[in-house]
Amino acid sequence: MNSTEQTIPTFEITENQKMVQQLARDFAEKEIKPVIMKYDESQEFPLDIVRKMSELGFMGIIFPEEYGGAGFGYLEYVTIIEEISKADPSMGLTIAAHNSLCTNHIYTFGNEQQKKKYLPDLCSGKKIGAWALTEPTSGSDAGSMRTTAMRDGNYYILNGSKNFITHGSVGKVTVVLAITDKSKGKKGISAFIVDNDTPGFIVNKKENKLGMRSSDTTALAFDNCAVPIENLIGEECKGFHQALTILDGGRISIAANALGIAQGAFDASLKYSKERQQFGKPISEFQAIQWKLSEMATQIEAARLLTYRAAFLKNKGDEIIKESSMAKYYASEVAVMVTNEAVQIHGGYGFTKDFIVEKFYRDVKLVTIGEGTSEIQKLVISRELLRI
């Protein structure tokens, strides 16, 4: 049964999920784990890994086959991101940003012509996609952006800059949010599909980061960048509303990213605690360590339930503003806690690059920040609770 047909939630993993899980797990073990530290150290974007993930269909998981996608639902999507993130959170983020943000924006709000033109190359991974909302002076307050797109004949002329854009330098297609009507504030924002080779599309500084170092996070600038009017997504001035809808789904993928990090850090800690001997016995025999393991495992399971529930509701077509925020907020905070304890369980060894928890500890901090900070998630949740 296709998970998208499923109407009753189940705590059991479906046949589909099992198969994609095995696939993603095998792939992560064999193709990512052995080489990833090299990319982490050099901050080089692993194009080779992304090419292989593309061949498997990971760049078009949630899109219909008619556009070159794999045609799966959010349950399989979340499963894949979790498994890949267990090996490398940056590659999990690549799948998440490419599928949920760029490609999904075009899929959800683009017209048939735009979908036919852009989706096949995005779904096949031939082109990597980016999504540009954040600016140097507008982060959480995305509505205060300054980038403009002024109509001039058959073109919109983009001017301004964007910050922290995932796939900013390796992307070939970017969905850009910009103001078309200054008088309307955030209600004057529109969304555009921009080919990165358009004159005036400038790739600026690539960030040197604490974690997620094999992910490409880059500043962009637009200098009289002329985008054809047929690249406007949906109607003018609907961009901000579109972006918020896209983020509702995107948060599920960051929750899955967090879940993978937490599970990966936990698995490593459980194993290590049984091997490391102090005071004549494995450290797993000390109650202080046992309690850490219990807390970590329980919170991960709770985060997983929230994440899978949000994915399930998304498949059903329900509104998921609150549910996806809860999942993202909780899973990301749990992941930070779990990686912290994971390093603690590893002692000094966890502080070295010979153990994967060191990397998780650095990578994890992004998940409480990207696609809305934890504070912003709480703001979204409370707005839904209070209906303000």
Binding site: E15, M19, V20, L56, G57, I61, A70
Partner: protein, 248 residues
């Protein structure tokens, strides 16, 4: 070309094996099963033959309902059809071979591919037994394969080298690591597998000839020994490996 691949559903290589209550089998609870790794290579080889010569790849497995998982994986990798010979009664290699060959006779394929061994019981008996029952030539432990105009040229792994042998189609081959690298089943493949058929056939006869009397786990490995940390310790290490461990 009609290609058949015989596949087994075996405990994951990382599974922790415990002996069952009767002392004659393993405790199957909590064990995850996988497509036998050598059979994965056989599937890949089958798919490559199909890509070169056209035709179809049929995967066949004898076992219980759960073997369907393994068959579904072969379908996701690209096999066209799968057959489950359904039976959960106790069997030995001979009775598995008999049931397989009875069915293989009807399929009448050009080539029958096996893994070189099943990593559960490691008998390496099935390919030879099946070839004999079908009165077909067989080549084991194949690491290189070329087929042209019904002529089959294989290289097989032997102690310290490779042996080159020739045969003709139809043939039974058992394959070894190194022959080819199995592909991952893509998401598209997994999706496509859902519409492919797993045909179920009951197996009634069981001509078992061997009885398992008891099963036990190997003695646990002793703790390691550090001979020394200086370069001079190398000599002592070599002596111990040679005289005590007798492995060099």
């Amino acid at each position: 070309m009609k290609i058949v691949v015989c596949v087994n559903h075996v405990p994951d290589t990382e599974a922790r094996i415990k002996i069952g209550a009767d002392g004659k089998g393993i405790d199957k609870s909590g064990i995850t099963y996988i497509l036998n790794p050598y059979d994965e290579i056989a599937v890949e080889q089958g798919l490559r033959l199909k890509e070169k010569f056209g035709g179809e790849v049929i995967a066949i497995s004898l076992g219980g309902e759960s073997n369907k998982e393994t068959l579904r994986k072969t379908l996701a990798m690209g096999a066209d059809k799968a057959i489950l010979l359904k039976d959960e009664s106790d069997r030995d290699s001979f009775s598995v071979a008999k049931a397989l060959s009875d069915n293989l006779k009807e399929i009448n394929s050009d080539i029958i591919l096996f893994g070189k061994q099943s990593i559960d019981f490691d008998n390496s008996q099935l390919p030879g037994l099946v070839a004999e029952m079908l009165n077909l030539p067989s080549v084991s432990v194949v690491v290189k394969l070329e087929i042209e105009n019904n002529q089959v040229v294989c290289e097989r792994e032997i102690e310290g080298g490779h042996e080159k042998v020739e045969s003709r189609l139809p043939v039974v081959l058992s394959v070894q690591k190194g022959l080819c690298e199995p592909r991952y089943p893509s998401l598209k493949g997994i999706m496509a597998a859902k519409t492919k058929l797993i045909e179920e056939k009951p197996v009634i006869s069981n001509s078992k000839k061997v009885e398992i009397v008891s099963l036990r786990l190997p003695a646990s490995k002793g703790t390691g020994k550090i001979v020394g940390t200086e370069p001079t310790a190398a000599k002592e290490l070599v002596r111990l490996l040679h005289e005590e461990a007798k492995i060099i």
